[in-house]
């Protein structure tokens, strides 16, 4: 049984505490519909308890208690049927979502394992019989370990790795890894999406700036004719591009915030994202104006004379 590993790790020198945790995607019946959430199973009293509890408490009993995120709309003492049992809401967190945007709920490791078991025996079975791929339950199991003071987490990680042929992650990396793995696949897709969208928006901004420049090519030729230096012309174009990009940025942010609540998954829009986006926008705007600038610099002042 895989939980053995936990005890093995606990025996590694310097590890003061090791606990098993599970992560699985389950559906939870909210007042409106079945909501996909990530259920975190943890050993009560060990590492991994819910953060940011805004009302109620963390789990105290080994069975049928649940801590849910406020987004799901439950109140304390609400009853939630999961698997074959009814869980009672004992605590409510704020802002507990996985990186893929699903709200987190916390149950005891024992309950979690039972749910897992049920899923693979009941739900999945009949799903499979229907030829439908089981998509409701994805399970991540992990061992988290606390390191005694005086020991370097990195060394221990190295140690565990060599010795157990397991990968070990240091304390800082841990949370990151846990959530990252859950969304590894979808983040790859999001990454691809992001890249494509950035390329596409660059192309669009380029085209717009190019359009605007082409539309003003005669005037640019005149400006060159009467002696305006290139730098002034380039400045004009880049300015235009930046103004455009900035407007798009503001519009995009407003739009994103307006529709985010309508999204199927909870999407976290962090301030950092906005800042990052801002720099991307600036970059894209500048790159987008290159084509236009090229056209402008190539414009022949003699064009201003002819018909």
């Amino acid at each position: 049984m895989f939980e053995d590993v936990k005890y093995q790790i606990r025996n590694v020198e310097g590890v003061s505490e090791a606990a098993a945790m599970t992560f699985q995607t389950i559906q939870i019946p909210t007042s409106l519909k079945q909501e996909r959430v990530t259920a975190v199973g943890y050993e009560i009293g060990k590492i991994g308890k819910p953060q940011n509890i805004i009302s109620g408490r963390e789990l105290a009993r080994e069975h049928y208690e649940i801590v849910v995120d406020t987004k799901l709309g439950f109140k304390l003492d609400d009853k939630i049927p999961l698997g074959r049992n009814i869980y009672t809401v004992v605590g409510i967190t704020k802002g507990a979502v996985s990186s893929s945007g699903e709200a987190l709920v916390y149950i005891s490791l024992k309950d979690a394992q039972q749910l897992q078991f049920l899923a693979s025996n009941d739900t999945i079975r009949s799903d499979r019989a229907r030829g439908i791929k089981d998509t409701t339950s994805t399970i991540v199991n992990t061992i988290v370990a606390k390191v005694s003071s005086g020991y370097s987490p990195k060394d221990i990680a190295e140690n565990i790795k060599k010795w157990k042929h397991k990968s070990a992650y240091t304390n800082e990396k841990q949370v990151e890894i846990l959530t990252k793995n859950v969304i590894e696949k979808s983040s790859k897709q999001i990454g691809l999406f992001t890249i494509i969208l950035i390329i596409v928006s660059s192309v669009i901004i380029s085209l717009i700036i190019y359009t605007m420049t082409i539309g003003k090519i005669k005037e640019i030729a005149i400006l060159k004719l009467i002696g305006m230096p290139n730098i002034e012309i380039v400045k004009m174009i880049v300015q235009q591009s930046l103004v455009l990009g900035f407007l798009a940025f503001v519009a995009g942010n407003i739009f994103a915030n307006a529709i985010k609540s309508k999204f199927p998954k909870n999407v976290q829009l962090l301030p950092e994202d906005s800042v990052g986006l801002f720099f991307v926008v600036v970059l894209v705007s500048v790159i987008g104006s290159l084509f236009g600038i090229y056209k402008a610099l190539k414009a022949n002042p003699a064009q201003a004379i002819g018909e």
Partner: protein, 236 residues
């Protein structure tokens, strides 16, 4: 520093198109003093505009030498690197197509260059007002270019070419769209400027009634140029 504003030596220009080579300017030499105002004559297609474009460093000659204001700007290739600075600071252009910026109003079109050259605002605004008043379009100062008549925009083009205190003015039929009285008053203004501020000017015109306002006549025909004194020239 000599008294010469323009010196052209053995200047040639041919246009090469896919199926033929057109020798427009076959080798011309002439000099223009500071303050001299010359009429450039020649049949349609003889190369008048071509010559002005080369003098304005807008079109590259095939060979020869051009000296502007004691500075060699062309000698079988461009000698002067920043021709645009030269244009901005020393040259004034008035072309057949008036080349105004349609999204700026009359005043901004006229003050664009002095502004770029770092002249103080009060100064260039005052000057623009003066010129526009002289040309009879001060009431159009805040008009957009699109709502001007042909003659009005031609006058704005004239005003613009004067606004940056050029040393040399190259004008291609500046009075074509003007009636006779206006044409004469424009020529009077140009002549006054030439004399008072020692500006050299070459003005293409088909209107021989304007001959009295010129010092000299440059006649271009079949690729060659002859220069005569205006007072000694009989047209036709």
């Amino acid at each position: 520093m000599s008294s010469l504003a323009i010196k052209v030596e053995n200047l040639k220009k041919e246009y090469i198109t896919k199926d033929s080579t057109l020798q427009v300017i076959k080798g011309i030499d002439f000099e223009l003093e500071k303050g001299e105002i010359a009429m450039l004559l020649g049949p349609s297609g003889s190369g008048k505009t071509t010559l002005l474009l080369m003098l304005g460093c807008i079109l590259e000659p095939t060979s020869g030498r051009i000296t502007l204001d004691d500075e060699i700007v062309y000698e079988d290739r461009w000698i002067l690197k920043d021709t645009r600075k030269l244009r901005r600071e020393k040259l004034g252009f008035i072309f057949q197509a008036h080349n105004l910026i349609p999204f700026l109003n009359v005043q901004d079109n006229v003050t664009l260059l002095p502004q770029l050259n770092g002249i103080a605002e009060v100064e260039y605004k005052k000057k623009a007002k003066e010129i526009l008043t002289y040309l009879g379009i001060e009431d159009k100062t805040n008009y957009m270019i699109g709502s001007l008549s042909g003659g009005q925009s031609q006058r704005v083009a004239i005003a613009r070419s004067l606004a940056n205190d050029p040393r040399i003015i190259l004008a291609d039929e500046p009075t074509a769209a003007l009636d006779k009285e206006r044409a004469i008053s424009v020529m009077e203004l140009l002549r006054k400027l030439a004399k008072e501020q020692e500006v050299a000017m070459i003005v293409v015109t088909h209107d021989d009634r304007l001959l009295p306002y010129f010092d000299s006549v440059l006649k271009i025909d079949d690729g060659y140029l002859t220069k005569t004194k205006a007072s000694e020239t009989k047209l036709h």
